[in-house]
Amino acid sequence: MPRVSYTAPTSIDDAVKALAASAGVAKALSGGTDLLVQLKSGRVRPEVIVDTKRIPGLIGIREEGDKFVIGAATPGIMISADERLTRAYPGIVEGVDLIGSTQIQGRCSIAGNLCNASPAADSVPPVIAARATAVVVGPNGRREVPVENIVTGPGQTSLQKGEFVVEFRIPKPLPRQSDAYLRFIPRTEMDIAVVGCAVNVVLDAGGTCTEARVVLGAVAPTQVIVEEAAQALIGHKLDDDTLKRLDSAARAACRPISDKRGTIEYRIKVAGVLARRAAAIAFDRAASRA
C-alpha cells in the first residue's frame, strides 16, 4: 500500500484538527472494510488516516430521552446484539446485518457504510426510513443533519473538509411503528444489492397506516425516499389495491443502471416486488407492537 500517516485521537476536537490540518486528502477510519480495500487498490490516496474508534462515544449505543444514539463507528456485531434496537427497529438491524460476512460484521459501521456513499449500502435505507439524523462535527462546530442529506452521489458526500460523523440519532418508535429492510441479491450471502428497500410505518389502533417512509437503494445514484410510495400507504390498510399502488410508485422512482447483477428493467421490477414484501413485514411488525 502507498505510504500514509495514521493518528488515533482520543477527542473529537483532536480528530477535527487532524482531519482539517492535512494539506492532502484526510480520511476518517471506522471499520476500514471499505477504506482499506480502496487504499490497497489506489482508489483513494489519503495523506492521513484518522482512526475515530478511540474517541469516547464513537463505539456504543445509548438512549437519550426519546432518541437512540448510535456511535458512528459502532460495529455491526454490536448493533445486532442490542436488544433495544432489535425490538425498536428490526429493519435497521436487518440492513446492518446484511453487510458482508461475520468477519466484516466485526468491524463495519453505519458511518462507513453511509460515507462510502455506495448506492447499494445496505444499512442506509432503513436508517433514512427511521428519520435518523447524523451529528457532524468539523472546524465550524457541530451540525445535525438528516441522514439523507449526507450522500450526494456515488462516492460523494456533503461533508466538508475536516468534518466527520460522530453519531446517529434515531427517534424512538411510536407504539405501533415498525420497519423492515429487504435486499435482493442473486445468491443467499455475500453479494451486493441489486435492489434494497426499507419501509417504516406507523399504524393506528385499527391497523390503518398514519405515517410511512419508503426508501430504495441501488436503483439510483443515491438512496431514494419515495414520497409517492409513502402516500400510497398512508390512510390505508395493506389491501391489494394499496399494494398495487405501492408497487407502481416504487417502480416509478427507479433510475437504475444495468450491470452484471441486473438490467434496468429487472431492477425496476424487483423494486416494486421488494416494496410490497417489505411493507407486508413492516405492517405485521407494527401491528404486533401494539
Binding site: 500500500m1 500514509v4 476500514g32 480495500v37 461475520t102 466485526g106
Partner: protein
C-alpha cells in the same frame, strides 16, 4: 514516515512490534512477527484466509491496520491449540479430512473456534452462514461443516463417532 510502536497481546503473550502505518495487521503478523499461519488469499475481505480474533470478534486481518492493534488482544491460528493439544475443531478437521491444499484452513479454524465459543450447539444452517466469509477452493465445504458440527458435539461432552475414512 516514522514507524509506529505497537503493544498488543497476541496468543496470550504481550508482544511489541514496529510497523509502518499502511501495513495491515496481516502484514505485521506475517512479516514482523513471523506468525505465518494467517494467509493472504485476496487481501480484500472476501476469502477469510486471514481471519483472526480481535477482542473476541473475528475480523479479516487484511482489512485492519497493524497500528489499530495497539492495546488489543489478538488470537491467530497459532494460538488455537493448547501446546501440543489440538483444539477439537483442529482434531475434527484432521479426522474428516476437511482440507485439501490447506490454504483456507487457518481461517476456517479460527472462524469455527469463534463460532463455538459463543454458540455451543449451532445448527448446520447457522454454521454455514457464520462461515460464509471463508472461501475454500478445494473441499466443497461439506467436510468442513461436518467437522465443525462434530467439534461442537465434542465440546458439549458428547462423543460423535469418527467419520469412516
Amino acid at each position: 514516515m516514522s514507524k509506529h510502536h505497537v503493544s498488543s497481546v497476541i496468543n496470550g503473550e504481550p508482544v511489541e512490534f514496529l510497523c509502518e502505518p499502511q501495513q495491515t495487521l496481516l502484514d505485521c503478523l506475517r512479516d514482523e512477527l513471523h506468525l505465518t499461519g494467517s494467509k493472504e488469499g485476496c487481501g480484500s475481505g472476501d476469502c477469510g484466509a486471514c481471519t483472526v480474533i480481535v477482542d473476541g470478534n473475528i475480523v479479516c486481518s487484511c482489512l485492519m491496520l497493524g497500528v489499530e492493534a495497539e492495546g488489543r488482544t489478538v488470537l491467530t491460528v497459532e494460538g488455537v491449540a493448547e501446546g501440543e493439544k489440538l483444539h477439537p475443531v483442529q482434531q475434527k478437521f484432521l479426522e474428516h479430512a476437511a482440507l485439501q491444499c490447506g490454504f483456507c484452513t487457518p481461517g476456517f479454524i479460527v472462524a469455527a473456534k469463534a463460532l463455538l465459543d459463543e454458540n455451543k450447539n449451532p445448527t448446520e444452517e447457522e454454521t454455514r452462514y457464520w462461515l460464509a466469509g471463508n472461501l475454500c477452493r478445494c473441499t466443497g465445504y461439506d467436510k468442513i461443516v461436518r467437522a465443525v458440527l462434530d467439534a461442537a458435539a465434542v465440546m458439549r461432552g458428547e462423543n460423535p463417532p469418527s467419520p469412516a475414512t
